[in-house]
């Protein structure tokens, strides 16, 4: 882990937060260096938004501390706020103001001098493909354009720490690409970025340090390659129709098992078993074997290995699904 001249740009320690009986965050530590992109990866309800909200000062933690550029956030809220660029999960722009007025307002709010506001607003508009829309009102934008403006408002004052909570939800492919490029550009200029997402391809495109958060705890952190190296266990995926013939799983480590439709079940078995060997185990009942494939190393499967839960469905969207 790298740390800058003055330590980490963001250092959150032992953050706890409960909603009634539900522990949303259970002693979370998160550090982000200048120029680093950290992707918080987790299912719905994992605690991503709660953590972002606490760092942004929108929510009070029950315990723990947040430091931004060495400043204690609770003791220096105004100074810390000036270093932050925050794009909350829900799209928020001023519908009766033009794109330019929205951008200039958020620059103004962050203390950008009047002379620089126009330049910076135009620059961020250019980055996010909003240049042609500067004189259009927020109410006249499409969904994707509004989402881009929403994120641009967080970037316009060139924050030192950028917090983006699922910035591409509802965005089209082109918008996603523009956002990712902008975020990478900002990080290249030295900003620290915390980025929550459901979409695994984005994490790959951002080349981010990945933090897997699950049920209020950070379970692991590393680059995609590091996580795959740590958690990929090889093996085979296979789908069976009807009842699994006895003896097929004998001596095999079952890493995952889940229903796949009405009468099918999907298994992940570990180890060095070859496809031919698996087919042989079915013997005369091989017709029940609907599919078999190698368990290839990818983020989706790493997530499942770390959290013990499927990466698809309600939560993290796997590569194949998100790419559609």
């Amino acid at each position: 882990m790298r740390s800058g001249k003055y330590g980490f740009m963001l250092q959150a320690r032992s953050i706890t937060k409960s909603y009634g009986l539900l522990d949303a965050l259970r002693g979370v530590d998160l550090s982000v260096d200048a120029g680093q992109i950290v992707a918080l990866l987790g299912r719905n309800g994992a605690g991503k938004t709660t953590l972002i909200s606490i760092i942004a000062g929108l929510l009070k933690a029950d315990g723990g501390t947040v430091e931004v550029n060495g400043l204690d956030a609770s003791g220096h809220p105004d100074e810390v706020a000036r270093l932050l660029g925050v794009a909350p999960q829900e799209t928020g722009v001023y519908r009766v103001l033009t794109v330019r007025e929205n951008l200039e307002f958020f620059a103004d709010l962050a203390g950008v001098p009047k002379k620089k506001r126009t330049t910076q607003a135009e620059e961020v508009a250019e980055q996010l493909g909003l240049s042609e829309l500067l004189s259009r009102k927020g109410s006249e934008l499409s969904g994707g354009e509004t989402r881009r403006l929403h994120t641009a408002c967080a970037l316009v004052h060139r924050p030192r720490l950028l917090l983006l909570d699922e910035p591409t939800v509802g965005a089209d492919v082109a918008t996603r690409q523009q956002l990712i490029e902008s975020v990478r550009g900002l990080a290249a200029d030295g900003a620290a970025v915390v980025y929550t997402t459901h979409y695994l391809p984005e994490v790959e495109a951002l080349e981010a340090d990945i933090v897997i958060i699950h049920q209020g705890e950070i379970l692991d952190r590393g680059t995609q390659a590091e996580l795959i190296e740590r958690h990929h266990r090889g093996g085979l995926w296979f789908t069976v129709e009807g009842e699994l013939p006895s003896g097929v799983l004998s001596g095999l480590e079952v890493l995952h098992q889940r229903p796949d439709g009405d009468d099918r079940e999907q298994f992940l078995v570990g180890g060095d078993i070859r496809m031919v060997e698996l087919v042989e185990r079915f013997g005369s009942q091989a017709a029940q074997l609907v599919s078999v494939e190698r368990n290839l190393p990818d983020l989706d499967r790493v997530f499942m290995a770390v959290t013990g839960e499927s990466a698809d469905g309600d939560g993290v969207e796997p590569v194949e699904q998100a790419a559609r």
Binding site: L58, P88, E90, G92, V96, D108, L109, K137
Partner: protein, 256 residues
């Protein structure tokens, strides 16, 4: 202070870009004034003001009454921020809660004063409202003090209620109740005794008292110091209560 100025500038642009509400609020008293001026004039003539045309009470009365609705806009702007999902963005900025409140209040005090001046001007053109020796500066002092008091009252209401429907209901009832009680709907002399007794509880009473002393009794600045002082003092108390009650992290329901 810098953040408050930024919020003020943005709110001013929002008001400027969305002027329809103010247009309607201006049209309403302008339409009503000519209807009631003659009747009220007759009443005033029989109450010791033989030269009164009725405009001296009807024009300020309508302005004082509809001012409640204009002032209510400050609350709707706060609720609208929640509806637009921009409230959290304000909170995450360097703007303190006090800066945010000031950023909303100050532009609306200015708008309120300009609105009042516009209604008075329309009254002069349509039903012949004249100073008749009264002090224009005194009128301006009343307008500013009344605007301050009403905006703070509406900020307190905004801080208190969680849904825009609650605010709307309270604003409507409050306008009719406080406006009527203060003599904005009909001259104070026409109200029952008990109503006249409790009338000073309404900011509208003090505003109407000030305007009457200028337009009916040729009053100067010295003659409006008491109503202006009461309105400013009440506004200060309301501002303190609003800032104590206001919770920036409280969710407000706005159905856009």
């Amino acid at each position: 202070m810098r953040a408050a100025m930024a919020v003020m500038r943005a709110q001013t642009k929002i008001i400027r870009n969305d002027p329809w509400f103010l247009g309607v609020m201006f049209a309403m008293p302008v339409v009503i004034m000519p209807i009631f001026a003659d009747v009220v004039g007759l009443g005033l003539q029989s109450s010791g003001y033989p030269d009164a045309s009725g405009a001296e009470v009807v024009v300020p009365g309508q302005m004082v009454l509809f001012s409640f609705f204009v002032a209510g806009s400050v609350g709707f702007m706060v609720f609208r921020e929640h509806g637009w999902k921009t409230w959290d963005r304000l909170r995450a900025s360097a703007a303190s809660p006090t800066s945010i409140l000031a950023g909303f209040a100050v532009p609306w005090i200015g708008v309120h004063v300009l609105y009042s001046l516009a209604v008075l001007t329309a009254g002069a053109l349509l039903v012949g409202l004249r100073f008749n020796g009264g002090s224009p500066l005194a009128v301006l002092l009343i307008l500013v003090a009344y605007a301050f008091c009403l905006i703070m009252l509406m900020l307190l209401a905004t801080a208190t209620f969680r849904t825009v429907n609650q605010l709307n209901a309270v604003q409507n009832v409050g306008a009719m109740l406080l406006g009527g009680l203060g003599g904005a709907l009909m001259p104070l002399e026409a109200l029952p005794g008990w109503a006249q007794t409790i009338a000073p509880l309404s900011p509208a009473y003090w505003a109407m008292r000030g305007h009457r002393s200028v337009f009916l009794e040729q009053g100067g600045v010295g003659d409006v110091l008491l109503p202006v002082g009461v309105l400013v003092a009440a506004g200060c108390v309301l501002a303190v209560l609003a800032s104590m009650r206001f919770r920036v992290d409280e969710t407000k329901e706005f159905f856009a």
